[in-house]
C-alpha cells in the first residue's frame, strides 16, 4: 500500500525537484510544457480544462461548496407582498456535491498533466522523438480506443447515476421532508437521526413498520424466485419430453407473456381479480360463492394472489432459459441411467437438477435481487394496498421496500426517509449478493460439470 502511494506521488515530487522549467511551469499552468514541446493538441486540452475549471469555480461552484456545511442560512421571507428568496438548500447540496466531484476530477487532470510532462522529459533525455499531434489523435482510435469508447458512457453514468446517488445518500442525513421543502424552507444536516427513527420501535419510530415491510419483501422475493424457478423448470421439462407434439406452439403461447407490455397485462389481471371483476362475477353467477372473494382487500389473500400472478409472469422466462440448458445435457447420461433401471424422477433428481442448479446459480441470485426490487408487479397490481392502520408512513400490506420508497417520494415528499430506505435496500442487496455469490458452487468450483 505504502509502496503504491509512493509510486503514485513520485511524479509530483519529481516534477518539483528534478523537472526542467517547462515542467515546473506546468505545475501551475497546465499544458504549458506540452505546448512548448510542440504537443499542441495535448497542451491545449490541458489548458482548456484548467480554464474551464477556474471559470466553473469562480462563476458557479465556489458559492455552493462554501455553504455545503450548513446547507444555507438565509431563509426565504415574505417582505410585504414580495417573496425574497434566500438560500436554496436543495441547490446547495446538489451543486455542492457536484463541485466536490469537479475538484476531484481536476486534481486527477492536474496529476495526469504532471505525469505526462515527466514522461516527455524522459523521452527527450533518452533521445527519442515525442509522439506528434497526429499520432496522439490517431491513438484515440487504436491503443487508446477504450478512452474514446468509454468517455460518453462514463460521463452519462456519472451525471445521471453517480451524482444523484451521492446526493440522495447525503439527503439521508438531512431533515429534507414535507416541512422542509426547498426553496421555501431550508433543510439542514441532522446526522443519524433518520436512521434512528427508522430503527426505533417506540411510538415515534417506524421500526415496526420497517421490519414488517422488510419481512414481506424477503418472503416475496423468496417465493417469487423459487416457485417460478421450479415450476418454469417443470414446464420446460414437460415441453421437452419425448413424444410431446407441437413443442414450438406451447413455447410461443407462454412467451406471449414476455412480449405483451406488462402494464397492459398486469392491469388487466388486476381488474380480473377485482371484487367486481370477471373471476368473482363468474363464480357468483355459477353459485359457487355468495359474496366476492376479497382478492385485493384481504391482506393475506392479496399477498398470495400477487405471488400467484407472478407465477404467470415468471414461468415463461425460466422456461426459455431451462429449455436452452436442458439441450446441453448429454443424452448418453440419461441413456446409461435408463439401462441401469433409473426412473424418471431419479434421473431428474441426480442428473437434471444438479446440472441446472449448478449452471443457473448466478441467475438465481440476480433473480432474487431483482425480485427484492420488483416494482412493476406490486405497483401495477396493488400499489402496496391494502393499507393498514397499524403501519406508519402510509405503508400497505403488500408494499415492498421499493414501492414504499416510491410512495414516500411521490405522495408524502418525505425525501430524507425515502433516502434512508434506499440505503437500506442497497445494504440488503449487497449483503445478500456477497454472501450468496461466494457460496455458489459454480463460483467455488469453476471446473465442475465441464
Amino acid at each position: 500500500m505504502g509502496d503504491s502511494i509512493g509510486k503514485v506521488l513520485s511524479p509530483i515530487g519529481g516534477a518539483i525537484t528534478k523537472g526542467d522549467w517547462k515542467t515546473k511551469v506546468s505545475i501551475i499552468i497546465l499544458g504549458f510544457g506540452q505546448l512548448l514541446r510542440g504537443q499542441i493538441l495535448k497542451g491545449l486540452t490541458f489548458l482548456a480544462l484548467e480554464a474551464a475549471f477556474i471559470w466553473y469555480m469562480v462563476g458557479f461552484g465556489g458559492k455552493y461548496v462554501s455553504k455545503l456545511s450548513t446547507l444555507g442560512t438565509v431563509a426565504t421571507q415574505k417582505v410585504g407582498r414580495k417573496t425574497v428568496y434566500g438560500d436554496n438548500s436543495f441547490l446547495i447540496l446538489l451543486f455542492g456535491v457536484l463541485t466536490v466531484f469537479v475538484i476531484l476530477a481536476f486534481i486527477l487532470v492536474w496529476y495526469l498533466n504532471i505525469k505526462d510532462n515527466m514522461e516527455a522529459e524522459r523521452l527527450i533525455k533518452a533521445g527519442k522523438r515525442l509522439p506528434s499531434n497526429k499520432e496522439v489523435f490517431a491513438s484515440l482510435f487504436d491503443n487508446n480506443f477504450d478512452k474514446t469508447l468509454l468517455a460518453l458512457p462514463v460521463l452519462g453514468i456519472f451525471i445521471f447515476t453517480v451524482l444523484p446517488i451521492v446526493f440522495m445518500i447525503c439527503v439521508a442525513f438531512t431533515n429534507y421532508d414535507k416541512n422542509h421543502q426547498a426553496p421555501t424552507n431550508l433543510f439542514t444536516w441532522v446526522g443519524f437521526q433518520n436512521f434512528q427513527k427508522l430503527l426505533s420501535f417506540g411510538s415515534s419510530g417506524i421500526g415496526r413498520t420497517f421490519v414488517q415491510v422488510l419481512a414481506w419483501t424477503l418472503i416475496w422475493a423468496f417465493f417469487a424466485t423459487f416457485i417460478d424457478y421450479f415450476l418454469g423448470l417443470a414446464v420446460a421439462i414437460l415441453i421437452n419430453k419425448k413424444g410431446v407434439k407441437y413443442k414450438k406452439l406451447w413455447r410461443t403461447i407462454l412467451v406471449l407473456t414476455i412480449a405483451v407490455p406488462q402494464f397492459v397485462s398486469l392491469l388487466y389481471i388486476m381488474k380480473l381479480f377485482a371484487n367486481d371483476g370477471l373471476i368473482n362475477g363468474y363464480l357468483m353467477k355459477w353459485g359457487w360463492i355468495d359474496s366476492p372473494i376479497q382478492f385485493w382487500v384481504d391482506p393475506m389473500l392479496a399477498r398470495i394472489t400477487i405471488i400467484v400472478v407472478n407465477i404467470w409472469i415468471g414461468i415463461p422466462y425460466m422456461m426459455l432459459i431451462a429449455t436452452g440448458l436442458l439441450m446441453n445435457i448429454p443424452e448418453d447420461l440419461y441413456e446409461s441411467a435408463r439401462i441401469d433401471g433409473a426412473t424418471g424422477w431419479q434421473m431428474f433428481k441426480s442428473i437434471t437438477l444438479p446440472y441446472i442448479l449448478f449452471v443457473t446459480g448466478p441467475f438465481l441470485l440476480t433473480q432474487f435481487t431483482n425480485n427484492l426490487n420488483n416494482f412493476n408487479v406490486i405497483y401495477l397490481l396493488t400499489q402496496g394496498r391494502p393499507l393498514s392502520v397499524k403501519m406508519a408512513e402510509n405503508a400497505g400490506n403488500t408494499d415492498l421496500l421499493v414501492t414504499w420508497l416510491y410512495k414516500m417520494t411521490v405522495n408524502d415528499t418525505n425525501y430524507s426517509m425515502a433516502a434512508v430506505i434506499g440505503i437500506m435496500v442497497f445494504i440488503i442487496t449487497a449483503v445478500v449478493s456477497l454472501v450468496v455469490y461466494n457460496a455458489l458452487p459454480s463460483v467455488k468450483d469453476e471446473e465442475g460439470f465441464q
Binding site: F145, I159, T161, L256, V260, Y268, D276, T366, T409
Partner: protein, 289 residues
C-alpha cells in the same frame, strides 16, 4: 412387456398434452379477455363500458377503437411519444452498450476492474431512489413536462452503459486471436471493432436493441413523474393507467382494453419475429451470470 411399456408411454403423453392445454388456456385467458372486452361498447345506449360479470360482449362494436382514433383524447400523440422514445432508446442504448462491452471485453486499461466493480455496486441501489434528483436535473435543462419525451430518452440512455453484461459475455466468446491477427496486419482497434467485431455480433445487437425497445412501453414510474400534469407528453403507460385507476372513469375500462390491444399487437409481433435472438441473449446471460 413391450406392449405395456408402450401403453404407459401413451398414457403419460396424454397427461402431458392435457397439462399443456390447461396451461395454455390459463396463459392465454387474459389476452383473449382483453381482446373480447375491447369490442364491448362504452356507449350507455348499447352497453356499459365498465366492469361487468360476463366475458363475451352482448353487442360487437368498434366504439372503443373509434374513440381512440377520434381525437377526443391525445391517444395518437401518446402512442407516437412512446414510439419515439422506444426507437431512440433502442438506437442509442445499443450503441453505448456495444462501446462499453467492446472496451471492457477487449482492452486492458488501468481502472478496468475498478470500473466494473464500481458499476456493479451502483447497480445495487434501487432506481427510484434518485428520482427527485433526476427530475430536478432534467428540469434544469427544460426537459420535464413539455420536454418530457427527450428527457426520458436522455435518462434511459445516459445510464445504459451499466447494462453491458450480456453483450460483453458475447464478445468474450469471439476468439481474441482474430483481433490479434488483424492488428498484426496493421488494423487499428477502431477498424477491428467496426469491420470485424460488429458484423459478427448481429444476434447480440438485435437482442440489445429489442430489450431496449421493449422497456419504454412499460415505463410508468419515471414517465409519470417527469411528465406530470402535461397530457401531451404522456406515454401510453402513463395515460392509460389513469383510465384503470381512477374510479370516476369506470366506463373507461373497455377503452383501456382497446388501447392495450393496440399497444400490445405491434410490440408482440416484433418480439415474436425476433424471438430467436431474445432466447439466445437471455440464455447466454443467465448462464454466464
Amino acid at each position: 412387456m413391450n406392449k405395456s411399456y408402450k401403453k404407459k408411454q401413451a398414457r403419460s403423453n396424454f397427461i402431458a398434452h392435457v397439462t399443456l392445454i390447461i396451461i395454455s388456456i390459463i396463459w392465454l385467458f387474459p389476452f383473449v379477455g382483453l381482446l373480447l372486452q375491447s369490442f364491448r361498447s362504452y356507449d350507455p345506449k348499447v352497453e356499459y363500458g365498465g366492469m361487468v360479470d360476463y366475458l363475451i360482449p352482448k353487442h360487437f362494436s368498434l366504439d372503443n377503437y373509434r374513440f381512440l382514433f377520434s381525437g377526443e383524447t391525445n391517444f395518437l400523440r401518446w402512442y407516437l411519444n412512446t414510439i419515439i422514445i422506444a426507437v431512440c432508446v433502442a438506437i442509442f442504448q445499443t450503441i453505448i452498450v456495444l462501446c462499453v462491452s467492446y472496451a471492457l471485453s477487449r482492452m486492458r486499461f488501468t481502472g478496468r476492474t475498478f470500473l466494473m466493480r464500481f458499476w456493479l455496486i451502483l447497480g445495487m441501489f434501487p432506481g427510484f431512489l434518485t428520482m427527485i434528483c433526476l427530475y430536478f436535473l432534467l428540469k434544469q435543462f427544460g426537459l420535464t413536462q413539455a420536454g418530457a419525451v427527450p428527457g426520458l430518452i436522455l435518462v434511459s440512455v445516459a445510464s445504459s452503459g451499466m447494462g453491458y453484461y450480456v453483450c460483453k459475455g458475447y464478445f468474450d466468446t469471439i476468439p481474441k486471436a482474430l483481433d490479434e491477427a488483424a492488428r498484426i496486419d496493421g488494423a487499428t482497434r477502431a477498424r477491428v471493432f467496426f469491420t470485424m467485431t460488429l458484423p459478427m455480433s448481429k444476434p447480440i445487437i438485435i437482442y440489445t436493441a429489442l430489450v431496449a425497445f421493449m422497456a419504454p412501453w412499460c415505463d410508468y414510474v419515471f414517465a409519470s413523474y417527469v411528465a406530470f400534469g402535461h397530457d401531451e407528453s404522456y406515454n401510453v403507460a402513463v395515460a392509460m393507467t389513469r383510465w384503470v385507476w381512477t374510479n370516476d372513469y369506470q366506463g373507461y375500462f373497455t377503452r383501456f382494453c382497446a388501447g392495450g390491444i393496440l399497444v400490445a399487437i405491434p410490440v408482440t409481433v416484433l418480439f415474436m419475429c425476433l424471438q430467436k435472438y431474445y432466447v439466445e441473449g437471455v440464455t447466454g446471460g443467465a448462464v454466464k451470470g
